[in-house]
Symmetry: C3
Subunit: 435 residues, 3 copies
Amino acid sequence: MDFEKGIGEELYDLAGKIFPICRSITGDGVRETLRILNEYLGKDGLSFEITEVPSGSKVLDWTVPKEWRIRDAYVADESGKRVIDFQKNNLHVVGYSLPMDEWLNKEELGKIIYTQKDQPDVIPYVTSYYKERSGFCISQKDWDALPEQKYHVVIDSELFDGSLTYADLVIPGVSEKEILITSYTCHPSMANNECSGPVLLVALARYVNSLKDRQYTYRFVLNPETIGSITYLSRNLEHLKKNVIAGVVLSCVGDDHHYSMIASRYANTLADKAFETILCDKENYEYYSFLKRGSDERQYNAPGIELPVVGFCRSKYGEFPEYHTSADNMSYVSAKGFEGSFEVMKDWINCLEWNGYYRMTVLGEPQLGKKGLYPTVSQKGSYDGVMAMMNLITYCDGRNDLFDLSDLIDVAPQELIPIVQKLLEHGLLEKIDRE
Amino acid sequence: MDFEKGIGEELYDLAGKIFPICRSITGDGVRETLRILNEYLGKDGLSFEITEVPSGSKVLDWTVPKEWRIRDAYVADESGKRVIDFQKNNLHVVGYSLPMDEWLNKEELGKIIYTQKDQPDVIPYVTSYYKERSGFCISQKDWDALPEQKYHVVIDSELFDGSLTYADLVIPGVSEKEILITSYTCHPSMANNECSGPVLLVALARYVNSLKDRQYTYRFVLNPETIGSITYLSRNLEHLKKNVIAGVVLSCVGDDHHYSMIASRYANTLADKAFETILCDKENYEYYSFLKRGSDERQYNAPGIELPVVGFCRSKYGEFPEYHTSADNMSYVSAKGFEGSFEVMKDWINCLEWNGYYRMTVLGEPQLGKKGLYPTVSQKGSYDGVMAMMNLITYCDGRNDLFDLSDLIDVAPQELIPIVQKLLEHGLLEKIDRE
Amino acid sequence: MDFEKGIGEELYDLAGKIFPICRSITGDGVRETLRILNEYLGKDGLSFEITEVPSGSKVLDWTVPKEWRIRDAYVADESGKRVIDFQKNNLHVVGYSLPMDEWLNKEELGKIIYTQKDQPDVIPYVTSYYKERSGFCISQKDWDALPEQKYHVVIDSELFDGSLTYADLVIPGVSEKEILITSYTCHPSMANNECSGPVLLVALARYVNSLKDRQYTYRFVLNPETIGSITYLSRNLEHLKKNVIAGVVLSCVGDDHHYSMIASRYANTLADKAFETILCDKENYEYYSFLKRGSDERQYNAPGIELPVVGFCRSKYGEFPEYHTSADNMSYVSAKGFEGSFEVMKDWINCLEWNGYYRMTVLGEPQLGKKGLYPTVSQKGSYDGVMAMMNLITYCDGRNDLFDLSDLIDVAPQELIPIVQKLLEHGLLEKIDRE
């Protein structure tokens, strides 16, 4: 895995490539996005497997909807000038809008206009997947400025029996047990939510592929939010329930504000433990309970599904003002933001890889001095540099995994890995089945 | 169940009717009180069963004492003027005082006088059930004002082999499992402690009687505090231990200050859970550990008894200055106070009735939009109104009862009942035996 | 057990007797110290059993080192005047220094000089047990004042195949289950750390010996820190693991600042519970997690050893500036300090002796008034004096030991002992095997 630039810049550029595409829960925007991401994976010889699921298919309690295709949409004034133009910003059209071609006065037009009253400068992101509607979204300011007159309102779209598109890629490890990493590809031109997640996901796939002697199998999944994950679950549930030991939904991972995790339903999975111990010492860390969920961790944690899946974000969706508006553009995300997310996810993957129950091979505290692991002169202060190792040793009794050890001795789990490696090398430690 | 006025006023008036009666742990005051309460129950065709237990009966480690009868008592000065008069306030005589008829000087009189030195204006409430004594209670101020002279000290009372009186009423439900609601009838003229508890109790009996398809059997018990509950337990322990799933002692429920609960011994019963989740969001809620107990929850939680019984109060006994003094009169309680207590107890009963383990009938999150339970337009903020339902659904996995659900999603359990009803109606939820 | 003076003064004086001796992890200093302590034990006919373990013996992962003997050491200036003199303070020589006799200039001398730069007035305590070195310790101030010249550097010491010396004393009780009390004898002239621990230990041995009908067997152990406890464990591990139910390392118990405990590895042993409940209400109490360990609780809690051993200190080692310097002298400790430690340890021993699961013999709350244990007049406030007893009774259901009871009712365990005694006398309580 070679990055031509820094990983942050590389991901920022890749996000910029997929940003302009008009995506929805179905359609060619999704397919074009996956083509670009596959191109990036191809640098290491990887590629997603793409699956098309026909409209009308039953998936758990849901039905795959018709496919939506949109070619153009605008509102033009009496002079023919486009005052709202889908070509300028694909957020202007309510997702899944039916076709229309009508002349409306301002009052009539107002009934199909959506604005964000508390943020008068932005175009809101609005969809109506499961009830047939037509609608336009514009800023409150622009709406207020439109004069009373007749407007030509055109949406050149169609809803037809097509298919829903999802992508997955499985990179095998020693064990059949799986780590699930997923994000979604159904949002149109918004950068953090959600060009960032898919872009980070493909970089992580390349990173995982570069790990020699991987312990776990890694499953990378991209699908449209909600209906896509429900579709994926309906087709893979048995396998996932049997194998997935930890999973994460990546969303809003491109800005450089704080780090956020959204806990799983009972906040008690390995995925939770790993993120919490990695993130808890960071200054800019926000923990959200499952009550604050909102992305596909909803589906992965739903009753009867109950997979160990959490959410990882920088600024959490729903919590930053730019969320679900035209202000979530490429200036809201940054190379620095992507890089921070990539580093945390690398730590998460490495900690899971190194996780296990460790036990000392000697009875009592080992004589570390003769192994060069301990100061030979004793004066007060001389042991400060070895306390993390001494603390790790004392709790390596076969009852604690790497994350328990991190909690017990208050050292981040990624910082324990080199100590574990050193003790393993000296034959002082062994990895065991849990006592 | 029809209330002629508001429930608060109705209970205030009923408390006023029993307030003047001189009650003690035995005697005609108790019987007259129960007669008036039975009259009130009779409006819905209900009535207490009255039991008389002879003096000298062994009850657990205790013995039922003699019955006490008092006709008159006074201290008169040399001119014959009554300076302390039982006819004016029955708190003036120490409960269970032996008869006497003597002339005493002020110093001699002082030896049988009880005052509340830290509250010089009030008459304290004093009893001596288990050691034979005679005594008078007056305010410190009045005592200080009495001149040195001879006083004629008369108590026209008797202690005789009679009986202790208690009352119970069982209203059956579908299940033999019981909810126990109890209060006590041994306090003379004090309003909150304890005319309020018996009065609320009979109103609740009428309310329970009005509930169609009651799940549980309800047992309403009125007896003298301590010796009465011990007597009741000695005669019903096996049945109660087998059937009671939750119980509450009502005491001081007539004022309109905060709400209080006194936890059971280990604070871990269904009765605790129900009160805590109902009360915890109220601004004016005070939680008291079992160390602060003092009423009959003492006996119901005693070693070997160990019934799941908590205490419910407005201002907790022992914690308000008027407690156990003549200042606890009808102006300390109010219609508003009674109404608040009645509403909390209704919530408690309803939540117990609706309590159970619920499980979703569909796998994964249901498609609520097509059932009209979910917004069809998606814009940020559009889901705020359905979050309680979404959160309930996600934790309805058969592992949580109504109170666990309330804790998990931070919504009061009484507010969950209509949501549960709606989901049951749509066939999305089922009540199951605990997983 | 008769103390000629107050126990505090007695222990202060005894500490003063052993203070001047130059101890190390082996050698005649240890033997002389044990001889003096045995003399003190002898007042009650007790004495330590002394064990010598030959150099080179394998003990767990360690090897018993050579014995160190030192007769004299000094640095003399060109005039022959001793500018550093072991005879004045035995901290001047690095523990286990090899013999030397050389002329060095100041720069050369500097390479074997240890100072405490952040405390320029004190001589630091430095050792090098497991790597052969020679060295001197002086105050930074004195070092800076030494002029440039030639110095005669002499250490008259030897390292030879001798033995490591430890001492133990077992005082049997009714049960074979043991309480372990240990401290160490390897520090030269420092008062709190560690003349105080051994001195308190022998006083406690005399105290335990004075207890009639002791429940437990008590094991008192003095050895050199780390290598000594490892040696002791290597020879007694099976017996200790089978029998020890609670243990404590005494260190720095002679000053009169706060009280400290160092928790065991998981803070979940009987030794922890006992100290925590005894100390938690003291104003000047500091709790240290096992991460702050540093004395022999390290070895007793090491993986595979896992004995229930905590640490007890006044000012905790490593936390006071005088620690491991010449400022830890006889003016840092005091009679008052020793007395406080002795009283806490007496409480700890007594609470362990009285610990057990208690259950009421009567069903329900007993009628305490007829036994003279309860006020016969009831007025508000009249029960304050019996609340501890009433609370104890209510939780004496066979599920709680003395320390659980202390936690539950928020009364120190040593204060519960007289109440338990009174209830046992009245036949209201029985000690049972845990329910």
